[in-house]
């Protein structure tokens, strides 16, 4: 029996499909590039899809320097393949460019480079620096009385960095309610599981103690992410952190939860298997739509 579909469910399903497409592009890019990061970008797809295509972010790919745009700061620059796939989808540059990731002369540098590519707000790579920059942007926008939101996309590994907490304190001091942070809580970093490398928990309480409002969502549930982003935008006097619980390597069984996939890429056999799994997932989503 056909399920009764409302518009919202249809929209979410199409965003899920888009997420799958982005995941396939990530695998293809990394296969072509032969180096880069796999697990994180695959796990964070829904956060980016929700932000750019879930009706949250104010942007205009044809006018990337529009002063009233919302700002996106990717603090963990090793998520570059994900950002690039998203920016191509959003129309900042032709999708064909994706195959040049990490190649000589390409604007798609191994880590995002602001001057090379429209839509990239800041050059990043060394983690733990994005939140500071996002705080600076939020302060600058407030000074100019521009009502744009600053979104900072962070990993959980960079919660190790002292400068992240320096920035968190400052954001609370200046009551930056135009700042929303998405933390990709995938529990892995280069050397292993975050709680073994340097325990972060209780992360939510930490941010709360630093003067933030904290929301927690299932980072693969687009509906939850979108509603948290909407809520974050409507809150006053406090910056908001949304902890997105995700599975690193999401969608590909042999990558999920394996921290070894943080900084490596699939070989052609592995990529083929990854794409096969993603395609069969697509079949599943489509059958649910019917």
């Amino acid at each position: 029996m056909k399920q009764k579909r409302n518009k919202q469910a249809e929209r979410i399903a199409s965003l899920e499909e888009l997420s799958l497409k982005i995941r396939q592009e990530i695998i293809q890019m990394l296969l072509e590039a032969k180096s880069g990061h796999c697990a994180g970008p695959l796990g964070a797809v829904e956060q980016y899809v929700a932000l750019y295509f879930g009706g949250i972010l104010k942007y205009d790919a044809k006018n990337p320097d529009w002063p009233e745009r919302d700002r996106v700061v990717v603090s963990n620059g090793h998520y570059a393949p994900l950002l690039y796939a998203i920016l191509a989808e959003a129309g900042y540059f032709p999708r064909d460019e994706l195959k040049n990731l990490r190649k000589l002369g390409s604007p798609l540098q191994g880590h995002p480079y602001r001057l090379g590519l429209k839509g990239v707000e800041t050059s990043s790579g060394p983690v733990g620096e994005g939140l500071s920059q996002a705080v600076g942007m939020a302060l600058g926008l407030k000074l100019d009385k521009i009502k744009s939101q600053v979104y900072c996309l962070m990993g959980d590994g960079e919660q190790d960095c002292g400068s992240t907490w320096e920035a968190a304190m400052l954001a609370a001091k200046y009551q930056l309610d135009n700042l929303t942070v998405l933390i990709d809580r995938n529990n892995i970093q280069i050397d292993g599981f975050t709680e073994k490398v340097l325990p972060l928990e209780p992360l939510k309480e930490k941010y709360e103690a630093f003067g933030w409002k904290v929301l927690e969502v299932d980072g693969h549930n687009l509906e939850e992410i979108i509603s948290a982003l909407l809520k974050a935008k409507s809150l006053f006097a406090k910056p908001v952190a949304i902890i997105c619980h995700t599975i690193p390597g999401k969608g590909i069984d042999f990558m999920e939860w394996e921290y070894q996939w943080h900084g490596k890429v699939p070989n052609s056999r592995e990529a083929e298997e990854a794409l096969r799994q993603l395609r069969s997932l697509k079949g599943k989503i489509q059958s649910e739509l019917d």
Partner: protein
């Protein structure tokens, strides 16, 4: 003699010479910068009065940000402010900025090409009683290796003030090094200043083929005093104020290398990697000339009064005179 074209302070060598600090020059210049350009914002990390940034804070409270003892964050925040069109002026002590936050400067300001003016006070031994932990002797080396960053070490109150104002419109980010101690006012409001231009402050008698001293920062006065005293002993030297360490004024340095027997550099910084190294890197590749380097010799400073330390570490006018006399006898 003091170069008459530069309108330097003619009372410089008098007992009653006006004494002022570079920090005051910077702090007062910053207020002026704030008046001239509404995009100027200032950030400080818990040393606001020491850097005289309280003048700006009190005048433009909404454009001043107190960051706390958080120099790494301060750089990222400045980068973010620059991304929204502001011109951030970021102040701290040089051991902390660019000392503690060098990588943030590299990535979020230089690599990212967000224009920020970095001000590191307490550069050199003249910091005095606070001791070695607080005497930045490495900041010129740290900053001059970074692309998209100019490096300036002014010699007095007026140069510090002018350097800041020039930095506002300079095409790249700028690092401005300040001394803690007060010193004689060497230049005047009329002395020309341009980033990237060195100036001959002490002109030798012509014909000249002697030693040219290239000095920077707080020690320019020591070099001038030495030149004046040596002149009384009929020893003829030139003194260049090399306040821009990067980009180096290659034209002027080359011209004086060509007419000198030896270039002697003088700085309140490690000999490794500082101003002398910059001059040497340039000259060794274009016009090799004998050189001698006066600076701190791979060691840290210690507590003491500024003048005591400058003497102890062999950077005073008396040390300079002695070295010049020895060089003239032994090498030239």
């Amino acid at each position: 003699m003091l170069n008459p074209e530069l309108k330097l302070n003619s009372g410089l060598f008098s007992e009653k010479a006006e004494i002022k600090s570079m920090r005051d020059g910077f702090g007062e210049g910053l207020v002026l910068a704030g008046e001239l350009n509404h995009q100027v914002v200032a950030l400080c990390a818990d040393v606001t009065e020491s850097l005289r940034m309280n003048l700006f804070r009190d005048r433009f409270p909404e454009r001043f940000f107190e960051l706390g003892v958080a120099e790494q964050n301060m750089i990222g925040v400045a980068s973010g402010l620059a991304a929204t069109g502001k011109i951030p002026v970021v102040g701290s002590y040089a051991v902390f900025s660019p000392g503690r936050n060098w990588e943030q400067i590299r990535t979020t300001i230089c690599y990212n090409q967000q224009k920020v003016i970095l001000v590191g006070s307490h550069g050199g031994l003249n910091v005095g009683p606070d001791g070695g932990s607080h005497q930045a002797l490495e900041d010129l080396a740290l900053t001059r290796v970074l692309p998209q960053l100019a490096v300036i070490s002014p010699c007095d109150y007026w140069e510090a003030r002018k350097a800041l104002l020039e930095a506002l419109t300079y095409p790249t980010s700028v690092y401005l090094r300040l001394a803690r101690a007060t010193g004689p006012v060497i230049t005047s409001p009329e002395t020309p200043f341009q980033i990237g231009k060195a100036q001959v402050f002490w002109l030798p008698e012509e014909p000249f083929s002697g030693i040219t001293v290239v000095a920077t920062g707080f020690l320019v006065f020591e070099a001038l005093k030495a030149a004046q005293e040596l002149a009384q002993e009929k020893i003829n030297i030139a003194v260049i104020n090399n306040s821009t360490i990067k980009p180096l004024d290659q034209t002027l340095i080359l011209a004086w290398a060509q007419k000198s027997k030896l270039i002697l550099t003088l700085e309140e910084h490690q000999k490794f990697g500082g101003m002398g190294s910059t001059v040497s890197e340039f000259l060794s590749a274009t016009y090799p000339v004998p050189m001698h380097f006066l600076g701190v010799a791979d060691t840290f400073g210690e507590s003491g009064e500024a003048q005591e330390l400058i003497k102890k570490y062999g950077l005073s006018k008396d040390s300079l005179k002695e070295v010049i006399k020895t060089l003239l006898i032994e090498k030239l």
